[in-house]
């Protein structure tokens, strides 16, 4: 099946500043693609180009087979977008905003009535439906923004930092709704700078920095791509003999072993889930008594740092 979105050399320049730099990417139908990067990485500009809100300086993208330059009207029919900053229009209440959006998207009066209620209830906004949006908190306004995409049920949904300013319970609710949307057949592009969110939701994650796509793969493969990224710390009852340490070092997945505090070993390795059983059997055969074991996988933050040389915080501050 051809990809539902194909981005070819997509570039956007604002004067001398290049916001998106020759981006190439494909999005498969029905997947959730996370676009991860610090503020200013080019995620929002990419989204705005895909949504035909701004024109690319160079390159193009095909959305559902339609060229964003040549058939913007057709592209917009396939897309629904929840913006980073909630767009509150000139109408004044959550109900008005969601209802107006549903109307524009062609929902019948009867269906609109039912779904506006359904969606606002699901987002815990029904109680506040007649409150002036300007009196709502940032998180509540964000929920209204998300409600637009959920009610629209587009073929392709673009959500830009969907859970920014939203509490933990609300976040999980929105994540569940996005997953449900995907189960109904919607392809989702999730732009976020929240690593956990990208990890939790995305089938694949693309890391953007300074307008460029550095890498794009499944979260697991991205983590595995860090050589020695998995860390296993084993504490023994007694100090381990050098012969056992040497044996552990012979596994090809083990990158480095360091000894800390005499009876504790730290192993830097790849594919922890595969190699740990093998290590355990060696230790059992050798009669080493383990008092504790701790394992940690690399996070997407480590992946980001690996590819950019910066932490997300440093990148956001404009470092590097």
């Amino acid at each position: 099946m051809p990809p539902i979105i194909r981005i070819e050399n997509l570039t956007k320049k604002f004067g001398k500043f290049t916001a998106v730099d020759h981006l190439n990417l494909e999005v498969e139908e029905g997947e959730i693609l996370g676009l991860l990067g610090p503020n200013g990485a080019g995620k929002t500009t990419t989204i705005l180009m895909l949504a035909t809100v701004i024109k690319p300086t160079e390159g193009t993208a095909y959305v559902g087979g339609y060229d964003i330059r040549k058939n913007p009207d057709k592209v917009r029919e396939l897309l629904g977008i929840a913006f980073q900053e909630p767009k509150m229009l000139w109408v004044s209440t959550p109900w008005d905003i969601v209802n107006w959006h549903a109307k524009i998207c062609g929902l019948s009066t009867q269906e609109r009535k039912r779904r506006v209620r359904e969606v606002l209830e699901a987002l815990d906004m029904w109680e506040y439906r007649h409150r002036n949006v300007h009196a709502l908190s940032g998180g509540m306004r964000k929920r209204v923004e998300i409600a637009k995409v959920v009610i629209q049920r587009p073929k392709i949904a673009i959500v830009d930092e969907p859970t920014a300013q939203i509490d933990v319970v609300g976040k999980h609710k929105i994540w569940r709704m996005l997953r449900e949307l995907r189960e109904e057949g919607t392809t989702i592009i999730l732009a976020t700078n929240e690593l956990y969110e990208a990890d939790m939701l995305s089938d694949r994650v693309g890391i953007m920095h300074r307008g460029k796509l550095l890498v794009c793969d499944t979260p697991q493969r991205l983590k595995d791509s860090i050589i020695g990224g998995d860390v296993v710390e084993i504490q023994f009852e007694a100090e381990l003999s050098p012969k056992i340490v040497e044996k552990l070092g012979q596994f090809k997945e083990v990158v480095k072993i360091t000894k800390i505090k005499g009876s504790t070993l730290r192993l830097y390795l790849n594919r922890v889930e595969e190699v740990v059983p093998k290590i355990m059997s060696v230790l059992m055969i050798e009669g080493a008594v383990i008092s504790s074991i701790r394992m940690s996988e690399p996070s997407l933050d480590d992946v980001f740092a690996h590819y950019t040389g910066l932490t997300l915080e440093e990148a956001e501050k404009g470092g590097g």
Partner: protein
């Protein structure tokens, strides 16, 4: 804003209109002035949509509107019609006062004139949107609107007949001949039956002028909206 405009409108009729009608040697000048004033007020209310464009750009609503599953043509047409209708809602009560003052002799003519005034208001909204997307600065737009208001209203037959304008300066008269405010004022007067002061004997001419004005600015608005806004020019 509506209240302020209403106070201004009533004062113009009650003071300026009454006093000026005693000074101007012309039959039925008071009714002539009141009908012209209604068109001037409609013009200034319809032009207001341009300021909304800046506000929308500032608050990012533009991005939202541009991402909706509607064509740019529908969007500009919708905004122009919306701006025109809003102007009518604002000016509606004032128009009623004006109609009470001038009276209607032929309801059918008035309906035709009303239709033309709707087109005029939509066209002015289209003009305002066009200028707003081209200028990109709300301060400059504000100044230009002031200048345009001075020129377009003064060089029309809203306040004085075409013969007076031509007498003052033939060039002014030439401009007034091609001014949408002139066409709207003429049609309003024809609609309410102030026949004695009409500059165009055939109402089809100003009607055609209004249709052309509306079509031109809607077309231009769509074209510029696509080129300027979609290109990310408002950012």
């Amino acid at each position: 804003m509506v209240i302020m405009r209403a106070i201004w409108f009533v004062s113009q009729i009650a003071f300026f209109g009454l006093i000026a009608s005693r000074m101007v040697v012309m039959e039925d000048y008071f009714r002539f002035y009141v009908s012209g004033l209604s068109v001037m007020t409609l013009y200034s209310a319809a032009i207001f949509i341009g300021f909304d464009i800046y506000e929308e750009a500032e608050h990012g609503v533009f991005e939202y509107l541009l991402s909706l599953p509607v064509s740019r043509r529908q969007l500009v047409l919708g905004r122009s019609i919306g701006g025109g209708l809003r102007a009518f809602i604002y000016v509606g009560p004032l128009m009623c006062i004006a109609l009470y003052v001038v009276g209607i002799t032929n309801p059918l003519n008035f309906l035709v004139a009303l239709f033309a005034l709707f087109l005029f208001a939509f066209g002015v909204s289209g003009l305002s949107i066009t200028l707003a997307v081209v200028i990109k600065s709300s301060d400059r737009f504000d100044i230009l609107m002031g200048v345009l208001d001075a020129l377009i209203v003064r060089l029309s037959t809203a306040m004085y007949p075409l013969s007076f304008v031509k007498e003052a300066n033939p060039f002014y008269g030439w401009i007034a001949n091609f001014n949408p405010v002139t066409y709207a004022s003429e049609l309003f007067r024809w609609g309410v039956g102030i026949e004695s002061a009409l500059s165009f004997r055939n109402p089809l001419l100003p009607l055609l002028g209004i249709v052309l004005f509306f079509s031109f600015f809607i077309f231009l608005g769509i074209m510029l909206y696509e080129r300027t806004i979609e290109g990310g020019g408002w950012r």
